[in-house]
């Protein structure tokens, strides 16, 4: 059951067309300033370019042979994202600040923008990544063969002549597509929004396709996971696949650790991962979303790996079909041809996604860090004049893309058949892992030097070639395998896969151990023994302390003389006229001058031009180009220190400025609060005046009305006249009382009241107040009792004022108690703090809401008739008096159960207001 070649090719090209359309749209939107990739979801999905054809086909292949051993390659990135996202954030911040465009640029820039290091990293990348590209070609070609081929499902068939191999033409077609895709624009920018959009899309396609085939196989061909795993458990051979110690070597856990570490480092330093995760990052905050979405993605895409592997083994029988292609052969065997086609498109998606990003990233590195430095050695490209170089740069990149894919094809042609997909991928991973010490060390250790990096990379890469690359070539039959078995020249200690007698490890773990060990040891040792150059030291500061920098206070490590014209020329040659013009206009605006002509040719301008050029041609080449266009003075370590000192002074100034503006803000805030307080005080005063007016006018109203009526009516009966006169007298008394209390309160509040303090006996005071009011209690038929302590230590207070307070509380109580059955109890309690006096009545009580207002001025609680003589000022005055002596006054009441007013006077009082007389 197969599909016609034409259909598969047509659908494949249609799919690539869709990708292209998305990229085109993404680029257009980016130019309009309305980015479609400015979303944490797109960012997280684009990172899933990690899942290549290797994942798509190879995981099932590996799982069908080694069971759960396919997992570490995905656990690594999950852990890296979850645990190391702060590291990634720092990489992103550094890359954005200094316009770093590739992992080679990142490392070279850190170590003094060294062209040598950039070139070496690029070289390692190319050598390491070619097998990986080959792997993608192999996967597509094998899938294509299976889908269209007559019978043979394996991919061991090789055409007689290379020009008959469809894989070659596929590689060339892909190269053409990528050239269209990634290097269309004339202006050289380091970011590719359209590409990111397309990659996010292909990530969805491959996930959906893989889940589709997983569900089809698990639930369509078999009865779910339980069925599959049940059958596997009954088969002793397959049972092994589900065991973690399957294929156990003596170093089982070291192998797990090695693979996870390898994958962790790869997700950081593979050129395509660096491209999407660091270079193409739109917003640092997107990392937080990616930190869980990307691991979730990996989880989903691995969900059906084991089930498909088991299903393939059950369906075809062990060794009968290529397990790398189970995802295709299983649906085909069931006659689900269109599903198989969809799955093939998913695989194509995975492969093209990887090849697109990888080759764009690596071609940039080749152009900037291998070809440019060579060109810069020639007279034509240096100096202060010369033609536009943007076309040349673009051509170099295009050639590099074609070259990369041809190299990938060559590797596929020569070595492809000897290895399963996963092994090829791991070889690339191990190469890329060599960048970890240089890059991570450079981000956190200022002492790391360029010499250390060169040493580390050379040792690590050398060991990688010796222990992994050469054996892989030898095993493909292109070299004699003698040295594998007996060591070179018969020196068995140097056997590539048992170096120094270390045996028992699988080749990958063995190689990773030795190469990383050698790399780190050389890196650290040489770094410690060498002194960083001034430029290295300055770059180390910029990298390690990247989070300390704030706008405007960044140190500029450059000194010399420059001419604006020269820099404009240089920028136009490398960026194109428009982009160069924009750059200088932006700079003019940022430093606050009117036009490009007014820009001073100072260190800041040189720095800005160099950073911008770094985005186009890499920091190392940009350094060389700028150096050739200006007269610079060499930077010494002392200069670095001086510049740093100046920058930190600047930072201190801006810090001081910030502090100043913060304290001004605080002062404003305080003034605002004070103003509000004044306003509310003013309102309180207005309310008070209004209340006083009301209270004064009310008795005056009766007095005036009654006197006017008596005047107008001389014949008024004497009894009537007598009644009115009595009212007039009462209301006059009320007026006098009110005036007296208002004045009293005003004096106390203003602190002008007179206090006649002496040692007073509170018991005597209470007795005195009770005696003077007792006749009124008797009139109302009410009981008045005193209980509690009678022997009290004297207090320092004003005796008359305290009598006033007691009388106020007692007369208030008298007003509310029922006639005939009223009862008021006064209680005195002494403790170490002072004396507490309470007056409890059996009146109607006061509701909670009214309790809150009972001490407010003119707030009379309860029935109006009960306090005809009240002024509404008694309680506020009483409270002011008690508080003057440092005490407090309160009310407790349950409606229906009477009320208790109390106050407490402390022994060691500190008068709050007023002066002792």
């Amino acid at each position: 059951m197969t599909l016609p070649v034409a259909v598969v090719i047509a659908v494949s090209f249609a799919y690539l067309g869709v990708l292209f359309a998305i990229a085109w749209y993404g680029d257009r939107r980016a130019r309009q300033g309305r980015s479609i990739i400015s979303s944490p979801w797109v960012y997280a999905l684009s990172i899933a370019v990690y899942c290549t054809a290797w994942t798509y086909f190879g995981s099932v292949g590996r799982a069908s042979v080694e069971g759960v051993w396919f997992l570490p390659i995905y656990l690594g990135p999950m852990l890296a994202m979850i645990l190391a996202w702060v590291v990634i954030r720092k990489m992103v911040r550094i890359a954005k600040t200094y316009r770093i465009t590739s992992v080679a640029d990142f490392i070279a820039s850190r170590y003094g923008k060294s062209p040598l290091i950039a070139g070496l990293v690029t070289l390692i990348t190319v050598v390491g990544i070619v097998p990986y590209i080959a792997l993608q070609l192999k996967a597509i070609s094998a899938g294509f063969g299976l889908l269209t081929g007559p019978s043979d499902p394996t991919l061991t068939e090789t055409p007689l002549h290379w020009w008959q191999d469809s894989t070659l033409y596929m590689a060339l077609a892909l190269a053409g597509f990528i050239i269209l895709f990634g290097t269309r624009h004339l202006d050289m920018t380091e970011r590719h929004e359209g590409m990111v959009a397309a990659i996010a899309f292909e990530s969805i396609v491959k996930l959906v396709a893989f889940l589709a085939v997983g569900i089809f196989v698990t639930y369509g061909m078999f009865n779910g996971l339980g069925d599959l795993f049940g059958r596997a458990m009954n088969d002793p051979a397959m049972q092994q696949l589900l065991r973690f110690d399957h294929g156990a070597t003596p170093h089982l856990y070291s192998q797990w650790f090695a693979l996870i570490l390898l994958a962790m480092l790869s997700v950081l330093f593979l050129p395509r991962q660096f491209q999407v995760m660091v270079v193409e990052n739109v917003d640092e905050r997107h990392l937080k979303r990616a930190a869980w979405v990307f691991p979730l993605y990996l989880f989903l895409i691995n969900l059906f790996v084991l089930p498909i592997a088991i299903a393939g083994l059950i369906h075809f029988g062990p060794g009968q079909a290529n397990p790398d292609l189970f995802v295709l052969s299983l649906p085909l065997a069931e006659g689900a041809r269109w599903l198989a086609l969809f799955v093939f498109i998913g695989g194509l998606s995975a492969a093209t996604g990887m090849v697109i990003v990888e080759s764009i990233a690596v071609s940039t590195m080749i152009c900037n860090d291998l070809v440019m430095p060579a060109l810069l050695k020639t007279r034509r490209f240096r100096g202060r004049s010369g033609g536009d170089l943007t076309r040349l740069l673009k051509s170099i990149r295009r050639l590099a893309i074609v070259g990369l894919l041809l190299l990938g094809y060559l590797y596929f042609y020569l070595a492809g058949e000897a290895y399963a997909l996963v092994s090829i991928g791991l070889i690339s991973f191990a190469a890329v892992a060599q960048f970890a010490p240089a890059a991570l060390g450079g981000m956190y250790w200022k002492g790391a030097t360029g010499a250390g990096v060169l040493a580390g990379l050379l040792v690590g890469f050398g060991l990688w070639i010796w222990t992994l690359m050469l054996p892989s070539i030898a095993k493909s039959g292109w070299m004699a395998t003698d040295f594998l078995e007996h060591g070179p020249f018969g020196l068995s200690l140097l056997k590539p896969e048992q170096l120094l007698g270390l045996s028992g490890l699988d080749p990958i773990t063995h190689s990773l151990f030795w190469s990383l060990f050698g790399n780190i040891a050389a890196f650290v040792a040489v770094s410690l023994y060498t002194r960083a150059s001034a430029r290295e030291a300055s770059q180390a500061l910029l990298f390690v302390d990247v989070f300390d920098r704030r706008g405007g206070s960044e140190p500029v490590f450059w000194q010399g003389q420059a001419r604006v014209d020269d820099l404009v020329n240089l920028s136009e040659r490398l960026l194109g006229r428009d982009a160069a013009r924009r750059l200088f206009q932006e700079h003019a605006r940022d430093i606050g001058v009117a036009s490009i002509d007014a820009i001073p040719a100072d260190a800041r301008l040189v720095q800005r031009v160099e950073t911008r050029l770094a985005g186009a041609i890499g920091s190392a080449s940009a350094r060389v180009m700028v150096a050739s266009a200006v007269d610079e003075e060499p930077l010494e370590i002392d200069d670095v220190m001086r510049i740093l000192e100046e920058a930190s002074q600047l930072r201190a100034y801006s810090q001081a400025l910030e502090d100043k503006s913060r304290s001004l803000e605080r002062a404003t805030e305080e003034l605002k609060t004070a103003n509000q307080q004044l306003k509310s005080l003013d309102r309180l005063k207005d309310d008070f005046m209004s209340s006083v007016t009301h209270e004064l006018r009310t008795p005056l109203t009766s007095i005036r009305a009654l006197t006017e009526m008596m005047r107008d009516d001389p014949d008024m009966p004497a009894a009537q006249r007598q009644e009115f006169l009595t009212i007039i007298v009462t209301e006059s008394e009320r007026l006098s009382r009110l005036v007296g209390q208002v004045l009293d309160l005003a004096r106390i509040e203003a602190g002008h009241a007179e206090w006649h303090n002496s040692d007073v006996d509170l018991y005597a005071i209470v007795k005195q107040a009770m005696a003077s009011i007792s006749s009124r209690f008797e009139e109302k038929g009410a009981a008045l009792e005193l209980c509690g302590d009678s022997r009290l230590a004297p207090l320092r207070a004003d005796a008359d004022r305290l009598v006033q307070v007691m009388l106020n509380l007692l007369s208030n109580a008298l007003k509310v108690i029922p006639a005939g059955s009223g009862q008021v109890v006064v209680d005195l309690q002494e403790n170490s703090d002072g004396v507490t006096v309470t007056v409890s009545d059996n009146g109607p009580g006061i509701s909670k809401a009214e309790q809150a207002e009972v001490f407010d001025k003119f707030r009379q609680v309860g029935d109006r008739d009960q306090h005809r003589e009240g002024t509404g000022l008694g309680l506020p005055i009483s409270r002011q008096i008690i508080e003057h002596f440092g005490g407090r006054m309160w009310v407790e009441s349950e409606p229906g159960q009477g009320a208790t007013f109390g106050f407490q006077l402390p022994r060691n009082q500190q008068p709050v207001t007023g002066k002792p007389a």
Binding site: S690, P699, D713
Partner: protein
């Protein structure tokens, strides 16, 4: 026919004064001691004129005014207030008081205003 006047005030001595004054002028007088009572009495048996104190317990004069104005458009209402704030005057007028008297008031003037309003309403009903 004698006109009926409702005095709504919570100050007993003011009520005594007003009651005597209005009775002397030949009106029939009703008394309410708070806003709620005043409202109830107006609804039950509408008088011709209300002397309505602004500050009363349970319901303020303003609240009473607001409640009865829509249902009793012809009822004459004189607000009495001891606060004498311009805002109170405006509030009373906005709510539809016919007149406004500030305490303490001249008894002659009050009587005159009462008569004026009642004559008006008499004229209105006659035409």
């Amino acid at each position: 026919m004698t006109k009926k006047i409702l005095i709504a005030d919570d100050e007993p001595n003011i009520v005594i004064s007003l009651e005597y004054l209005m009775k002397r002028e030949g009106f029939e007088v009703l008394v309410a001691r708070d806003g709620a009572e005043a409202l109830q009495m107006i609804e039950a048996d509408p008088p011709d004129l209300v002397l309505l104190d602004a500050m009363m317990p349970k319901k303020t004069g303003f609240e009473v005014l607001q409640a009865i104005r829509p249902t009793h458009p012809g009822l004459k209402i004189i607000m009495l207030t001891a606060k004498g704030r311009d805002t109170d005057l405006e509030k009373g007028r906005a709510l539809g008081a016919d007149d406004y008297v500030i305490k303490p008031f001249s008894t002659r003037e009050l009587v005159e205003r009462v008569r004026q309003l009642l004559d008006q309403s008499g004229a209105e009903t006659e035409t």
